[in-house]
């Protein structure tokens, strides 16, 4: 059968929550970054799906997806840079070792 809007939305939703779950639970910074990528990708799926099923004709959703991918890359780049720096100073990329700033 033909996958409909809701299938895709379901998948994207699942992806979103997977991402959120990963972000909340993983201890490794890189993994957390990856789970953010999951979130973004779920958003991409959303856009594409909406564009295809609900609002065909205009290409807004697709464009948006492209830009999101680009931005995600940029974000990742900076994030990685920062994480590397963190590794230099903390000798670890475990989020639990970077909790001096509190209260």
């Amino acid at each position: 059968m033909q996958p409909g809007l809701y299938h895709i939305l379901f998948i994207s939703g699942a992806l979103f929550f997977t991402g959120v779950y990963g972000f909340l639970t993983r201890r490794n910074l890189i993994t957390m970054l990856m789970s953010i990528e999951l979130i973004l990708n779920s958003v991409n799926l959303n856009f594409v799906a909406f564009n295809k099923y609900v609002w065909p004709g205009k290409m807004d959703g697709l464009f948006f997806t492209l830009f999101i991918i680009a931005i995600a890359a940029a974000e990742a780049a900076v994030a990685i840079a920062i994480i590397i720096n963190l590794y230099r100073s903390h000798k670890s990329i475990d989020v639990e070792n970077a909790e001096d700033l509190k209260y």
Partner: protein
């Protein structure tokens, strides 16, 4: 009549004395401040006498007029209520200014010698000036609030003068006591004023009296006036005003300050606490007499009884005291009691008003002989450097003039004819006899006691044991001291011969002075009895006094301890007011009110410390909060607030 200015000068001259001596005395004037004050006082006394002469001799249609010489608005409260500064001349005020200025003059002169070499000599004269000014303002007042103002001023000047030896703790205590007790009474006076002014719609004496006493308005007033505890507002007003008077005049039970007030220099006691200020209460009642007599006879009844009780109690206590000034103080109280009940038993107008005349008459004569007694006592103390009878005795050689004048005064107060006291006391007794027998008997008893304790005093000062000098140098008073004694002595001797009723009466219509020999046998006999008793006990040294005291037992002791009234006051003020009320208030403020404020502060900090944990430093936890917040909002707006 002398012009307004001249009359106004009577009080203003002493004021000028006060201001000059007060501002420049210490630095520039020094001793001359005293002479200046005396000179001004002399001028004012002459003016007063002149005024009195011209007032009483001025032609009048059988009734002495009430002349409002001056009436300046001082403070306008509302359309009809205003404090006016005025001068009201009527028989009693004229009589009073004469008394006040004369006695004050005597005291001024006397003090020149008595306080020679005092460091604060100018200050003393400044205070005297202030007092005289205030007293004159009081007696001349045309407005009840003006009376109150000067009432307070005499209070404070008496406070200053009692506390003149400010480095003696006893003096400090005494002046505080005097001020506070009278202040307490003044509270009554103030509320009384408020009530009366509210009832009569004015503060002016004349208008007030006429409104309240005139049948229609007065009756209307009484009917509408709110009543409280079953008495009409008017009754309360009059009673409260009388309480004010009782406080100043040291009536029982507000008399406790008077004996202690003797801490002041003796001339001051003579002026303030014998002749003038303490009779202000009597004067006040006399001033409002129509109101008392017509509107609130019940209160007048009370006045009578308070007077009588004070008279007898004071007399009893006086018999037991050994400090000569205290004896005199109690006798003063007792004599003022006479004046009070004389007013109390009087009615308004005509023959029935005899008590009023008698009271004023007694006020007049009493001023003379009591001032004389005090000044005499002053001379004695000056000589002996002690207030206690035990250190005295046999002084008649050393102080002949004092001795003589003192004797005159004692006879006068004991009511031995033909001296001043005799006449006034006769009239009082007569009035009492007409209207209230109970009071009459009390009065008789009192007069007997009076004679006894006065002569106890006299004998134990000038006779009993031969005088053995001890202590340091003695200085005989100069002529400055003996002069006033002599003058007052003359006054005490002959003041009684004045046909007083002719001048002063409740309705200002001259009153024929009637004098009935048969009636006065009893009092005089009693007086003589008292004197003889005193002579038998005290004329020469013996242990009779102690025997009697022992025989009296409890009565003597309690009288000696002034019937423990001071202790009661001590208990009420110290224990109840200070410890219970005051401490509670202070504690409440510190712990409850202030505590509440501080607690809010600490509570906030506690909360702040409590919630610090949520800023844990864990990124993921932050994300959790983020999500929860978001979900809450979503739920709130999607499901709850549809």
């Amino acid at each position: 009549m002398p012009g307004t200015l001249l009359i106004a000068l009577i009080p203003l001259l002493p004021l000028a004395g006060f201001i000059i001596a007060g501002l420049f005395g210490r630095k520039y004037l020094g001793r001359s401040a005293g002479y200046l004050g005396t000179a001004l006082m002399l001028a004012s006394a002459l003016l007063a006498i002149y005024t009195a002469y011209s007032y009483f001799t001025a032609p009048n249609g059988g009734e002495y007029p009430k002349i409002k010489v001056l009436d300046l608005t001082w403070l306008q409260f509302s359309d009809h209520l205003s404090i006016n500064m005025g001068i009201l001349l009527d028989p009693i005020s004229v009589m009073m200014i004469v008394v006040v200025t004369l006695i004050s003059l005597m005291v001024h002169i006397y003090s020149l010698a008595y306080l020679k070499g005092e460091e604060r000599f100018p200050t003393y004269y400044a205070y005297l000036g202030l007092f005289t000014f205030s007293m004159l303002g009081l007696v001349l007042a045309s407005n009840i609030f003006q009376t109150y103002i000067f009432w307070e001023l005499v209070g404070v000047s008496s406070f200053l003068l009692i506390g003149y030896y400010y480095d003696r703790p006893s003096a400090v205590a005494a002046c505080k006591k005097a001020f506070i007790v009278t202040r307490f009474a003044d509270l009554g006076f103030l509320i009384g004023i408020l009530i009366l002014s509210n009832a009569s719609g004015t503060l002016d004496f004349d208008t007030m009296i006429s409104t309240l006493t005139s049948p229609e308005t007065g009756a209307a007033q009484k009917s509408v006036a709110a009543s409280f505890l079953g008495f009409s507002a008017l009754t309360w007003g009059a009673a409260l005003v009388f309480i004010g008077g009782a406080g100043k005049s040291a009536m029982f039970p507000l008399h406790i300050w008077l004996p202690d007030a003797m801490e002041g220099p003796t001339p001051v006691s003579a002026l303030i606490h014998a002749a003038t200020m303490v009779v202000a209460g009597v004067y006040l009642v006399a001033r409002l007499f129509p109101v008392f007599a017509v509107c609130t006879p019940g209160v007048l009844e009370m006045v009578g009884w308070v007077g009588a009780i004070s008279a007898i109690i004071a007399a009893i206590i006086a018999c037991t005291q050994t400090d000569i000034k205290r004896v005199l103080a109690y006798s003063t109280m007792s004599q003022i009691g006479y004046m009070m009940f004389a007013l109390g038993v009087s009615k308004y107008g005509g023959e029935a008003g005899l008590g009023y005349t008698a009271s004023m008459f007694h006020l007049f004569t009493h001023a003379m002989f009591k001032a004389l007694l005090f000044l005499g006592a002053g001379a004695v103390i000056h000589y002996v450097h002690s207030n206690d009878m035990k250190d005295m005795g046999g002084l008649r050689k050393q102080l002949p003039v004092t001795h003589l004048t003192f004797l005159i005064a004692c006879l006068a107060i004991a009511g031995v004819p033909p001296l001043a006291g005799f006449f006034s006391k006769e009239e009082i007794l007569l009035a009492a006899h007409h209207h209230n027998m109970a009071i009459y008997w009390i009065a008789l008893l009192t007069s007997g006691l009076t004679a006894f304790y006065m002569f106890r005093l006299y004998f134990s000062i000038f006779w009993s044991k031969p005088y053995q000098p001890h202590g340091e140098h003695h200085h005989h008073g100069s002529v400055l001291m003996t002069g006033p004694l002599v003058l007052l002595g003359i006054g005490a001797a002959f003041a009684g011969l004045i046909p007083f009723g002719h001048f002063v009466s409740s309705d200002r219509i001259p009153l024929a002075s009637h004098f009935d020999l048969s009636f006065s046998v009893l009092p005089v006999a009693l007086g003589l009895l008292g004197i003889l008793a005193a002579m038998w006990v005290y004329a020469r040294q013996s242990d009779r006094a102690d025997k009697i005291a022992a025989a009296m037992g409890g009565l003597y002791k309690s009288a000696y301890r002034k019937f423990y009234i001071d202790e009661v006051y001590q208990f009420v003020t110290k224990k109840i007011l200070f410890n219970i009320v005051g401490r509670t208030a202070a504690w409440f403020d510190r712990t409850i009110v202030d505590g509440a404020v501080n607690m809010t502060g600490t509570a906030t900090q506690k909360i702040a410390a409590g919630i610090k944990k949520i800023q844990s430093g864990k990124v993921q936890q932050y994300a959790v909060y983020f999500l929860t917040g978001m979900i809450l909002l979503a739920v709130l707006f999607i499901y709850l607030l549809k």
